[in-house]
């Protein structure tokens, strides 16, 4: 390619793509507003879709101008991350999976490529190829940024649900005057056991409980950390004036605790929640009289 001809065009294809995007921002935004991705998100107002598209085109132009078309961490993308995240969330809520969102992102590329080809119709073939490659890479990076935000949104949702679960899964049941029970279900990690301890101590205070039963039937694994949490909870309850009983230690878990070498002798344990309740009632001096009709043999 003769040198003078090359000099007519900007030397850096990425920069040229940046300039092109800025110039054609309006046209691109109009076309994107009708693409599936934005149409399905901005169902009410097309103007909003155009506006959203404009900011994305601007961000792309900034990234291209900086020459970092392949860098998903480029500053230009920072501006649109939040907007992309909202778009992705909205698509995900509508039931679109990652693959579909990815395909919809991909569909944004052809309209821009067409415009670029138009614009460069009399540029040398080599230059045209470099520019379209830069644009393709840039759009690929945008798609990556979008997918990243989609997955982060998914992770946020999971984390939030996990936090919610921490609280929902720890109900306090008042079994009797002065006796509360907390049936534990699931993993008792450090965060969870902190919540359990707080909820239990609150209940002890509020209900003036003398006995608190921690039922671990639903806890799959009792290792040294879980055992330590249980002991701490028991000790804290004791300081509040309540006796804590741990119930629901299954035989396999009991054997495992023994092999592990953990000494739970400082903890009052009972095989089942019913046994724990019976113990607490007896200690309180409440007597449950069996129904005479069922206790007495019919004559």
């Amino acid at each position: 390619m003769p040198e003078q001809q090359a000099a007519e065009h900007q030397s850096n294809p990425a920069e040229e793509v940046g300039a092109f995007l800025r110039e054609r921002r309006e046209q691109i935004a109009q076309r994107w507003a009708d693409a599936a991705l934005l149409r399905t998100v901005f169902t009410v107002s097309r103007d909003e879709a155009v506006e959203a598209a404009r900011t994305v085109v601007e961000a792309l132009a900034a990234v291209a101008a900086s020459g970092r078309v392949a860098d998903s961490e480029a500053d230009g993308f920072a501006v649109v991350r939040e907007q992309l995240a909202r778009t992705a969330q909205s698509r995900a809520r509508a039931g679109a999976g990652i693959a579909q969102i990815s395909a919809e992102m991909d569909a944004l590329r052809p309209p821009v490529t067409d415009l670029l080809l138009d614009e460069l119709s009399d540029a040398p073939a080599e230059h045209l190829r470099e520019c379209t490659t830069a644009l393709t890479v840039l759009m690929g990076t945008l798609r990556l940024v979008m997918l990243e935000t989609t997955m982060n949104a998914g992770q946020d949702l999971i984390n939030r649900q996990r936090l919610e679960l921490l609280e929902i899964a720890t109900p306090v049941i008042k079994l009797w005057e002065g006796i509360v029970a907390v049936p534990l279900i699931g993993t008792l990690d450090s965060a969870r056991s902190q919540v359990v301890m707080e909820i239990l101590l609150d209940a002890v205070v509020e209900q003036h409980a003398r006995f608190a039963i921690l039922d671990i039937t639903g806890v799959p694994t009792v290792d040294s950390l879980v055992a330590q949490h249980l002991m701490k909870t028991v000790a804290a309850a004791r300081l509040m004036g309540a006796e804590c009983i741990v119930s629901g230690i299954r035989p396999a878990i009991a054997q495992t605790i023994v092999h592990l070498g953990i000494d739970l002798s400082s903890v009052l344990t009972r095989a089942s929640l019913a046994d724990a309740l019976a113990y607490a009632l007896q200690e309180q001096g409440d007597h449950i009289v069996p129904n005479p009709a069922s206790a007495v043999e019919p004559r």
Binding site: T221, S224, L225, A227, Q228, A252, H259, L260
Partner: protein, 147 residues
């Protein structure tokens, strides 16, 4: 000779509390699948929980390799926990009950050793720690008696 049956071996990352849950679930599923009894399942899962947590807390994260093994027709499960953490300066001390450099009970390492049939540990200061454990479906295989 003990050899890996290969087909369903797996490698799980240990970088978060959530990974610990996955490790336990994986070991539970594998032991159940291989036909371990409930007590042996619970023991191995608990040992895995201790060793994975040590890799996470003391080793700064690592991984668990899990592979079914057989020897003399007896099936078992072998778990290898490795990290690139600070290593353990005094193994005997670390294995003794009640020793902790943090705020734990100090029962994890020694307890894990008691919960499994085979236990080996290799730790180098500044390089990392690798703990390998194996449990067999019905007790450790006995060496064939010489006639």
């Amino acid at each position: 000779m003990t050899h890996s049956t290969g087909s369903v071996s797996a490698c799980l990352p240990i970088h978060s509390d959530l990974d610990l849950v996955r490790v336990r679930q994986h070991v539970r599923q594998m032991t159940a699948h291989l036909g371990f009894g409930l007590v042996e399942q619970t023991k191995l899962v608990t040992a895995a929980s201790e060793l994975a947590r040590n890799a996470l807390v003391h080793g700064g994260g690592g991984q668990m390799e899990c592979a079914p093994v057989t020897t003399g027709g007896i099936r078992g499960l072998r778990l290898v926990f490795s990290d690139q953490g600070p290593g353990i300066a005094d193994l005997e001390q670390a294995l003794s009950d009640g020793y902790t450099s943090g705020e734990g009970l100090g029962m994890g390492l020694g307890g894990a050793r008691r919960l499994v049939h085979e236990f080996s540990i290799d730790s180098r200061r500044g390089v990392g720690t690798t703990v390998a454990v194996t449990s067999w479906i019905s007790g450790p295989p006995r060496p064939r008696e010489a006639h």
